[in-house]
């Protein structure tokens, strides 16, 4: 078994209460950190925070920032972000928040419209340098 694979976990799982234990919050593999798809949750209570596309995006990226910090990475080490939205018509609302979080140059990114679990409007995952 490779010693290059390491699970990142914490008492404040960025995926919140009731999250499937079938996945890890993030996994380090080699030089990269793979972060699970995150939805908007309160980092203290772990409860989901359904809101607008903008508010969910802000909450997710704020939680992601803490997660990356715990894992020894950071926003400027992100190489690729995948964003799923409940409606592509909301992409500008997600973008407005997105630019506030990412350094210049920002990472590569894909945005898709998709059906998300539990009626959430936004889901974000990323791959970063560990």
């Amino acid at each position: 078994m490779s010693v290059r694979r390491k699970i990142v976990s914490s008492p404040h799982d960025a995926r919140g209460v009731g999250t499937s234990a079938a996945a890890s919050e993030a996994v380090r593999g080699g030089d990269f950190l793979f972060v699970s798809g995150l939805t908007a949750t309160d980092p203290q209570s772990g409860m989901r925070m359904p809101g607008t596309t903008a508010s969910e995006t802000r909450q997710i990226l704020s939680n992601l920032k803490q997660l990356l910090k715990r894992a020894g990475s950071s926003f400027d080490k992100i190489v690729k972000v995948n964003v799923l939205l409940h409606s592509m018509l909301e992409a500008p609302n997600m973008n407005e928040v997105h630019v506030q979080f990412f350094p210049d140059p920002p990472p590569a990114r894909t945005v898709c419209g998709a059906r998300l679990p539990d009626g959430m409007k936004v889901m974000i995952e990323c791959t970063a340098l560990a």
Partner: protein, 135 residues
């Protein structure tokens, strides 16, 4: 081009599970590069017939993950080395049922994962891809 890094196509030992070749599609089952293996999206294919196997979602997920295991092991990797999984469902209502089967395959230290739903072709109920450490 990074020096030393070589890009190699990998394939399942069971040729019937090589959906790329069987369907004459412009991709390969997987690529090994450096210490990683990147698999193409996999759908439920019967190991005996090579045909799509579109039973209940639990069965589709089990077949797909079992074939993923075979493909990884054919290339010297394994499910234990998977670091990130994408699960795409045709119907997000199947999330719980997918999860039930998924746990059978990733019992300890599971990989990072993102699950969502969007249109899939040919009536497939799920499509699953992953990134794994090669060894």
């Amino acid at each position: 081009m990074s020096e030393g890094l070589v890009r190699t196509a990998i394939a399942p030992k069971n040729p019937l599970l090589n959906a790329s070749r069987v369907g004459n599609l412009p991709h390969v089952p997987g690529i090994r590069v450096g210490e990683y293996i990147f698999l193409s999206g996999m759908v439920p294919v019967d190991t005996q017939t090579g045909e799509r196997s579109l039973g209940p979602i639990a069965e589709q997920v089990r077949i797909t993950l079992s074939n993923m295991q075979h493909t990884l092991e054919s290339a010297g990797s394994s499910l234990e080395r998977v670091v990130r999984v994408h699960v795409v469902l045709a119907d997000i209502a199947n999330l719980t049922e997918m999860d039930r089967i998924y746990r059978e395959f990733f019992r300890v230290d599971p990989p990072a994962r993102m699950v969502w739903s969007m249109q899939l072709r040919f009536g497939n109920g799920c499509e699953i891809e992953c990134v794994a450490l090669a060894a």
